[in-house]
Structures are given as C-alpha cells and as structure tokens.
C-alpha cells in the first residue's frame, strides 16, 4: 500500500511487517514522551539527579550519541572535501544517523535544563568563555546544517520528487552540498571539542581537569579525535546491523573495510594521544591541584581497571584489529572491532561525566552513586526509539544505500546469463 513511496529498485518488507517492527518502538517512544513530559511539567525532581550528581544519564547519553553521530560530519568531510568517492555508498545513512543523534541529543538537553523556556538566553546573553555556550551554538547550528543535509535525501523520495519544485531544489542543493559539508565539519570540530572541553575545564574536579592549548583543554582535542575515530566505526556497525536486520546487502565490503581502516588509523592516533595525556595528567596536572591521581582509583568500583579498559581493551585492541588488513577482511573481526571502538568512546564519556561527579572533591564528601529514575530512563529510551523510528522510516522510504539497487541485479545476472541468453541470440 505504501509501495509508491519506496525507492525504485529496492525491496522492502510488507507494510504489516513494517508496522509490526515499528509498533514496539512507537510504544516505547510514546512512553518516553510521557516520561519527558513528567520531567517538563513536574520538574526535574522526577529524576534521580541531585545537587552533587548535577548531571546524570542524559549528559552521558548526549556526549556518547554525539560522538557516535560524528560519522555524519566526518564521512561528509572525507567524501566532499577529501573526495573519497567510495563513501558515497554510506553518506546518506551517515547523515540520517547524524541527524538522529543530534536531534535526540538536543531534545534530551531541552528536557535536562531546568527552564527550557529560557533556552534562547544562551544565544541572547552568551558567555563566550563557557564551553557550554560553544556547545549550544555549535549543536544548534550543526543540527540546522544536518537538517538541510537531510532534506535532499527526503526530497529524493520517489513520491516527493514528483513535485517539480522539490526535485529541482534537491538537485540544486546537492550541487552545493560540499559547502554544507565544510560548515558541518567546522561546527562539528568545535562542537565535539567543546563537549570535551566541558569537563576538561572543570578546575574544581581535578579528575577531569586537563591543561591544554589556549582556551581549550586537551580533552577538547581528544574528543574531536575520538569522535572522528568512532564515527566511521559506528557507521560500519550500523550498516552491518541494518544489513543483518533487513537481510539485504547494502554496501560493498570494500566500503566497510575502508571505514574500518579510517577508524583504526584515527583510533590509533587517539590512543597514543590519550596515553600521553593521561601520563601528563597523572604526573603533573592532578598532583599540581593537590589531588594525587592514585586516590581516584581507590574508590571502588572504579579502580584502575577502568583506565586500562578505556585505553587498552576498548582503544588499542580495536585499533590494532582495524589496522590489520587480514583481520579487516573478516566481517566478524571488523564489526567486533567497530563495536569495541564505539564502546570505548562510550566508556570514555562515562568516565568524563559520571565518574567525575561520583568522585568526592572535599575530604568529608562521600563517594556517591547514582542510578537513573524510570522517568530519566524513559526519556533516554525515547531518544533511542526516536532514532530507530526516524532511521526505520528513512530506510524504508528513502534511498540510504545507493549500492543496494545494484546488488539486486548483480548476482542474478551472473547466474542466469548462460542459461537463458545463449540459445536466443545465436540460434
């Protein structure tokens, strides 16, 4: 019944099957909206955040999904600025993922602030020294850019492009997309960085505080690097996952391997930089503020294992796998390494946000634990469900993987060529 909307040359499951898939996510989304509504109407007392744990699940999720969504800007950058044409196969998907991640993050942020009605104050009275100002400006601008980048993909929908205005606009906009890719790269660069700076500048928390360059602490650069490193990994993983879920070949394996190689390369650089940064922090920054670094890891359960996990298990290991050509050729290794890299960045964001807040700064402080309330979790799940829904609809009705159509014909042509063609022409 919605066949007219599905891109030509690709096959999608039947409408009832699609609805069956959508339904639980829609239900989850509705529940999450209810939770978010509670937080907005009744106030943030609905959460388990408190004065010490001023940030909770949402900030962690925001930082993580924005890092994962970095694939959008980075792929755009590689494709349109560095002209890595192979990435054309995933750019649409990357844009949708980026859009989903950023819009989800912005929505969560709006629930997270105590007075969402005053959100525009940041623009009106900006304190340019605040990392959060930088984050707010970049995140909104970049979301607008992503929206504009998402627009051509939507307008290419089979039904929409029948409208001449849409078709022509999409065509003209696509010609200028490199400008947007450039702006997006610029914004993302500062945005990812300022998210890192968010915690890196906290002089009051020597666990997070880092020295740096000019106004930016080292975490500024580490966040950019790590986001650029895992962005491709996340696209690799999602492409593989969607391919598995839909049972369709979406891109050529070479594309995934290219993504893996880029990811591995950057991850390697990141791990190196992170190691140097950690050593400087342990030996100079932290003791300089009166906080011996080993004390942080004396508070269980976050012992030194978390540092080891972050740098070695979820950093070095995937980097090495992705940089080994032989392993990259095996899908299992490739995908596992990509997942490890994504988990690594999530762990890094967890450490920077939640562990920072859990650790005491005063000698008579307690070490605090925090567990999100159901309203908080629900709101987070709404973001996830929102992402799944937007992506599902996009995947069904928009052409996210242009190569998909080729696979429809390729294998068949190879099989049937001799069987059917021969007798016809030559006889």
């Amino acid at each position: 019944m919605d066949r007219q909307l599905i891109a030509r040359g690709v096959r999608r499951c039947s409408t009832p099957q699609f609805l069956l898939w959508i339904l639980p996510w829609a239900a989850l989304f509705a529940f999450g909206l209810y939770c978010a509504g509670l937080c907005l109407v009744k106030g943030l007392n609905q959460t388990n955040m408190d004065n010490r744990f001023a940030f909770g699940l949402w900030i962690f999720v925001d930082l993580t999904i924005i890092a994962l969504g970095a694939g959008a800007f980075f792929t755009g950058f590689l494709l349109y600025i560095l002209k890595l044409k192979d990435l054309d196969a995933v750019i649409n998907s990357a844009v949708v993922i980026g859009f989903v991640c950023y819009s989800g993050a912005v929505a969560a942020l709006l629930v997270d602030v105590g007075q969402p009605l005053r959100a525009w104050f940041t623009f009106w009275y900006p304190n340019v020294h605040s990392m959060l100002t930088e984050v707010t400006f970049c995140i909104t601008c970049y979301l607008a850019v992503l929206l504009i980048e998402y627009l051509p993909i939507v307008l290419r929908n089979r039904k929409l492009r029948e409208v001449p205005g849409f078709l022509v606009f999409e065509f003209e906009l696509h010609k200028l997309i490199y400008v947007l890719a450039g702006v997006g790269t610029f914004l993302s660069f500062f945005h990812q960085g300022s998210l890192g700076g968010l915690f890196g500048v906290l002089r009051g928390h020597p666990f997070a505080f880092r020295e740096g360059l000019a106004v930016w602490p080292s975490t500024f650069f580490l966040f950019i690097l790590s986001a650029a490193a895992v962005g491709p990994s996340f696209i690799l993983f999602t492409t593989w996952l969607i391919s598995k879920l839909s049972g369709k070949r979406l891109v050529r394996p070479q594309v995934l391997q290219l993504l893996g190689r880029i990811s591995g390369l950057l991850l390697g650089v990141y791990v190196l930089a992170k190691t140097v940064d950690t050593l400087i922090w342990i030996n100079r920054t932290s003791p300089g503020a009166g906080f011996p670094a080993q004390e942080y890891f004396a508070w269980q359960p976050f012992g030194t294992w978390i540092l080891f996990a972050e740098i070695v298990v979820f950093g070095l290991a995937p980097a090495l796998i992705l940089l080994t050509p032989r392993l990259r050729l095996r899908t299992n290794w490739l995908v596992s390494a990509a997942v490890l890299a994504c988990l690594g960045v999530a762990l890094n964001r967890f450490v920077m946000t939640l562990q920072t807040l859990a650790l005491p700064t005063l000698s008579f402080d307690r070490y605090l634990s925090y567990w999100p309330s159901w309203q908080e979790t629900g709101t987070f799940l709404a973001v996830v469900a929102f992402g799944v829904l937007v992506y599902s609809f996009s995947f069904r009705y928009l052409l996210l993987f242009p190569q998909e159509r080729e696979f429809r014909q390729e294998p068949a042509a190879q099989v049937s060529e001799t069987a059917v063609m021969d007798p016809v022409g030559r006889s």
Partner: protein, 276 residues
C-alpha cells in the same frame, strides 16, 4: 548576541566567537538561498524535465550508465558523463570520426526474435525516431519496450504543440498501477499524437530551430550489441528475487507485464525505461 544586549563586551573572545557564528549563519543561509534561487530559475526556464532526467540518470546503477562505446567494445569501462546526450560529447564525436559507422548488418531486422527495423534510430530508453519524407519525425516504442509493457492500460500522450526535448518525457504509459514515462529520443514539437495504435509510432514531431540531430541515438550498427546487453539487464532485473525463467525456450514472452509479479515487473520497467 548583539552589542545592545546585556553583558556584551567588545572583547576579542566575543568578537571572534560571534564573528564565527555569524559567518556560519551567513554561509548556511546563502547556500540555502542560492539553492532556492537557482531552483526557481530552473523551474522558470522549464529545465525541470532535463533535471529530472539528470537526477534519474545519476541514480541509475553504474552498469546502466555505461557509454555506448563500451557496448561496441571501443572502451573497456566508461561511464557516460552526459546523461546519454551524445550531442555535446567530444569523445563521441572523436570516436565517430575515427570509426565512421559501418553499414548495417543484413540480418538487422530480426534480433533475438524481435523486430528491429534499421530504418530508424534507437534511443537507449527503448524508443526510436524515424525521419519521414515530410521532415517530421515519428517516435515510437521499440519491440522490447512493447513486450515489457504489453498492452497498455492507458496512454497519456502530449497535446499537439507540446515541446519535446531529448531525454525529456515524451509520453506516459499506464500499466499495472504504474506510470511509465517514456523518454523522448528527439527535440521537437508534437504535431500529432497517434498513440501507438497500429504499431507505428506514438507521436509525430516536427523540428524546432535547427532541425533534428540524431547523434544521441544509436546507429544501426550499435543496435545488436546494445540489444544483447539490454536483454541481459532485463534478465537481471526479472530474476533477481529468484523467478528463474524469462522466456519460453529462450525467446522473450510477447507480454512480460502479465507474466511476472509486480515487483519483478517494476524492476524490469525501471531497467528498460531508465527510471531510477
């Protein structure tokens, strides 16, 4: 945000930060605005059809976009950079100059059990154009195209006087809830819409401006290799999801539209009529 807002200082930080912000705003706004302006201009200049074809062409799988000189074996690999409009193509002109078209093969009219008269030029979207004695051109659907579509449910023909452009839509055929747009092989103005009844052409078109230019159409000598490849593509489109037999004894069915499930047949239409 503005100098008159509370807390604004003319400090370096403020100027740099807000300067960057406004630059971004201006760049993004300019980009979108210029896209809108250009789109309006294009619509006004009636370039919609050309753009639609370009967009369609861009969306075709790379193997469908190959240069006609690959079909004849002159190139190993080449993608058409001109969206199948060879009139402006320098490479094409050079190649034609190098190898002037051979005489048409004798058996040209019967190919793979289908009739392909060589008194006309074929378009890669399965139309043909035949110059009549009166200087008008008759445009029609070739046999392969006819077999794919079978007997149309309805035909949507342009009114006489309509301007046709190469690779623009010539007419629409409705079949199985589907609207197939047929690409025009030639520039011109519609004189008469005969509608394919009687099998000889759908439209009669008179030249506009400098007259007809058939350089974009396939020369008789190219028809056979092209057709072989087309059948192969058709085959691929039809049996992608595992419906194995294309034809009875290797010959194309006279009416494919009734023999295949909708999806397969849709794919076949897409492949044959170069629809993305």
């Amino acid at each position: 945000m503005f100098p008159w807002n509370y807390g604004f200082h003319w400090s370096t930080g403020n100027v740099l930060f807000l300067g960057a912000f406004y630059t971004v705003l201006v760049v993004v706004a300019t980009t979108v605005a210029s896209a809108i302006l250009r789109a309006r201009r294009a619509v006004a200049a009636q370039q919609t059809d050309a753009i639609r074809w370009r967009s369609d062409f861009h969306d075709l799988p790379p193997r469908d976009r190959v240069c006609r000189h690959v079909l004849t074996g002159e190139f190993q690999v080449r993608e058409c950079p001109n969206a199948f409009d060879c009139r402006q193509c320098e490479t094409h002109a050079r190649l034609v100059a190098l190898h002037p078209p051979e005489a048409p093969p004798e058996s040209g009219e019967e190919l793979l059990g289908m009739s392909f008269p060589l008194d006309r030029f074929y378009h890669r979207g399965h139309t043909w154009a035949r110059l009549g004695p009166d200087g008008a051109v008759t445009i029609g659907l070739d046999e392969l195209g006819r077999r794919v579509l079978g007997v149309p449910d309805a035909v949507d023909l342009p009114a006489p006087g309509t301007r046709l452009r190469v690779n623009g839509p010539a007419w629409h055929i409705h079949k199985r809830n589907r609207d197939v747009r047929v690409l025009s092989p030639a520039d011109g103005e519609v004189v008469e819409a005969t509608g394919g009844i009687g099998g000889d052409g759908y439209l009669r078109v008179k030249p506009v401006g400098r007259g007809f230019d058939f350089r974009n159409l396939l020369a008789p000598c190219e028809v056979k290799p092209w057709l072989l490849r087309e059948v192969e593509r058709l085959q691929g489109a039809l049996s992608a999801e595992g419906v194995p037999t294309l034809a009875d004894g290797g010959v194309l069915l006279p009416d494919l539209s009734t023999a295949y499930p909708q999806a397969d047949w849709d794919a076949a239409c897409d492949a044959m009529f170069l629809q993305a």
